[in-house]
Symmetry: D2
Subunit: 282 residues, 4 copies
């Protein structure tokens, strides 16, 4: 059995030694260990991968860890057994590039998840879902039917036991109710180098300002728009020769790569969120 353990707690002496001894005591072999201390915040973070004899049970390990370590150090932590394929729902609107990219990766075996469904507030991209034989749900979304839509979304997410959601250029605000049920489990791609150009039409704003570099940002969704913990960013150069449509075209390539990287990091359990920021064990 292979486990990945993610820990964070107040920084204190002896944590690393205690954790590694604990793993050793369970006849575990640590095959990866990375730790980080945020000295400003006084917080300790650790990611650890360990192999165990197959007769170790996850529930037993968890109970023991909680009693012997987590309580002592006041840890927030979790342990994940290798081999579990998380269920990833995709929300889209009308833009195709991120959806095509995620589905192509999934179909090529690059992305180790199940995709129970694609949800959209428009019917336009159903044909892509069909191409890849993924169920597609059209859930319209306007101010008037907002609450109904949210209920429908929640039901689909529950029914399909979704683990996390990817907003692949989904052009609607996600309801706080949904965010509450999926804390740091909804991944968005914003088409600017946040915090520059938050909100609508960032490429237009970037063009207007005359920047020489544009970017894309993938982040966990929180109640505040475009202000959640940043997972991944990347940029590309632009110049006066590029019109807004060129910004948009260059941006598409950024968006799909940055979103895919963020999804990979999340799936590989390489992210810990703290203080509205991420620790990325890459």
């Amino acid at each position: 059995m292979k486990l990945t353990v993610l820990i964070h707690c107040e920084d204190q002496p002896g944590i690393i030694s205690s954790v590694t001894q604990f793993i050793h005591g369970k006849n575990g072999n640590i095959i990866y260990l990375d730790q980080h201390v945020d000295k400003e915040a006084g917080v300790f973070f650790m990611r650890l991968e360990s192999e165990f004899d197959s007769h170790l049970e996850l529930s037993h390990f968890k109970e023991s860890f909680e009693q012997k370590l987590a309580k002592t150090y006041g840890m927030e932590w979790d342990a994940f057994e290798d081999g579990h394929k998380p269920k990833m729902a995709i929300f889209v609107s009308k833009y195709k590039h991120c959806l095509y990219d995620l589905l192509s990766r999934h179909n090529s075996g690059e992305l180790d998840v199940d995709i129970p469904f694609i949800l959209s507030n428009h019917p336009d991209l159903k044909y892509i879902a069909d191409q890849f034989q993924i169920p597609f749900f059209h859930v319209p979304f306007t101010k008037d039917i907002r609450e109904t839509a949210e209920v429908e979304q929640m039901e689909l997410l529950k029914e399909h036991q979704v683990d996390f959601v990817v907003l692949a250029r989904y052009m609607q605000i996600v309801s706080p109710k949904v965010i509450d049920v999926f804390p740091h489990k909804i991944i968005n791609i914003h088409h600017s180098f946040l915090p520059a150009f938050a909100g609508a039409k960032p490429y237009h704003a970037a063009f207007e300002r005359g920047v020489k570099i544009i970017g894309a940002t993938s982040h966990y969704v929180t109640a505040e728009l475009d202000a959640g913990p940043i997972i991944e960013q990347d940029v590309t150069t632009v110049s006066h020769t590029h019109a807004i449509k060129d910004f948009i075209a260059k941006g598409r390539d950024l968006e799909k790569i940055v979103l895919a990287r963020a999804v990979h990091l999340h799936v590989a359990r390489k992210t810990i969120v703290y203080n509205n920021k991420t620790v990325i064990f890459s």
Copy 2:
């Protein structure tokens, strides 16, 4: 004689043809031509380098160009004779890296300017000016003595016939009076990827926000703080492992490179400002 001509005007048919014919009629050989049309704004931009027989006089060329071309097309334009070394004043406060970088480049022959003086609101960096044998003026700057300081600055700039000013991490606001006399001739380096993190302490703000990329921006100074036309930007990656002091250290390398590139572009007359944005003929 070699001339560089910079033109911008309302976009109209036939401009390129008219300009190249004009040059041809003066027995000029065009060795470089780049043009750009901002279709949103309907503005035409051109940069042209041309060689002429030595007996052509610049004043004669200018008069003829104005009469035969500029008036017809309503051009804003200028022509520069090769070989003129512009006079560049440097303003600094206490940070050394940009100053050292500019002076090293100047001393190595990379930067084809004269540096009549370095001005600072602190005396600390006089020893660097001495190392490179450049006159150093200490002009203190506080709210109380603001007007006196501005007068002193203006007198120094006039007396030394300064062509343009580089703010090499000068930590004071430049007076609107000075800006008026040097429109798009004062180059600043801001230690963030503008428009993100304008104002004070951008590295602290970037750390706080948890960005994965930091940047630096060189721009022409206008009355509005950190909002002038951007000349050059660059970025570098950061992660949770970097503390604020690491942001600052990584940023230093960005700042000096980005500022130097902007100064090079300005000196080579490769920049045209329009609509608070730059066209960079690189």
Copy 3:
């Protein structure tokens, strides 16, 4: 009518003026002009876009240009009328990422070409061709049947009036006979930063050498393996933490982006090949 004209010839005085006058004389309005002189080689390059009254005929324009300009200056040149959709064949083997990326772009309207067929030396990726409803031809390729395969390839290319070929990770050498018929019209993606790691298994070689950056290179195919004119390159950082499989995974994203950019440049007629190098009017 809108024309794009590509020119190169020995550098001589007066070319730009002559060309722009010629266009002007045809009542053309130049909407884009970029030129370049390779001073080492003494060669002049130009790309020009011009709009004409609709009654101008391309054949007439070409004849006139040839007589009045091209002969005088010894130009190699061509003119292309806007609106012609080039026919692009795709050759693949077993890797999916570049194929998926090209087909997704095509399906999204990003790539303004017709794709008459996909050819592969393996049957594996037929299902992707089916997903996107593109004809798929399985043309096996081994030493023994090499000549037959080449004949079959040539026949398919002719029959479908293919304009250019994209090798989207096609793992076989393209026959010199095919290259001769498609000079600088076959675009390959090589999974290294050429000229480093030419030939087979570049990621393994890069890992072995311990480089800190890996790359991908798109180039026109010539008789010499991996030595044709480079159209586009890009890189990404790696570290000791990345195993060969990580190099390959990171490389996939590079490959598809770099190949797509090269195809875009080719389709937009922004490339001129000279001296086994490219001039890219971007």
Copy 4:
């Protein structure tokens, strides 16, 4: 007291646990731990920073570590006490940019080393050494006087108890005798993206090949020219518009940044060399 410990050995179960327990047993508080396993080579690497009560003696720690850990696991290792300023000699020829950059950083407090001397095979840059008040030795180097020169170099290095050497664009081969005495302690900057364009005139070769990206590589010097373990690389874009002199100018900025980063990593003891590659704990 603060110690930095660097370890590598054959990968075996229990190493991390044993090391952290050992540190804990000495009342040390681990403030940083990073480890890496090269699975291809079966080698374990670790970097650890730990704080101890001030009465711990380094020699005592080392003896105990050797007996209780290093022998058991067959470790190659070393421990360094914080606060020791390494002595860094600089070798140059005629290029100024890397020398100016290193001395500026040193003078600004960015680089925590002593610089006992600058050595050059030419007298040209003595004036820069004078500017920064560093001793300068002119040691001519030609085939005829090679052995004498090597002896003189060795004597200077010994006499000044030099810890490591930086070749800041030193255009001579370093003698194998000197390399033997400073194994992985001589840092070179090569002006290409190695392994592309090893040897002389890399910018000319890059121009000739028509690459779209150029690079710089900092590596430890080994007997084989430009083939030592790579510490740091970076790249920048070029295009057909850049002549060789532009490659050289753009390259200068790369070279000085890449060399400085490598020196920083070495000084901070963040590098381990194994199998002609580096593990960089950044």
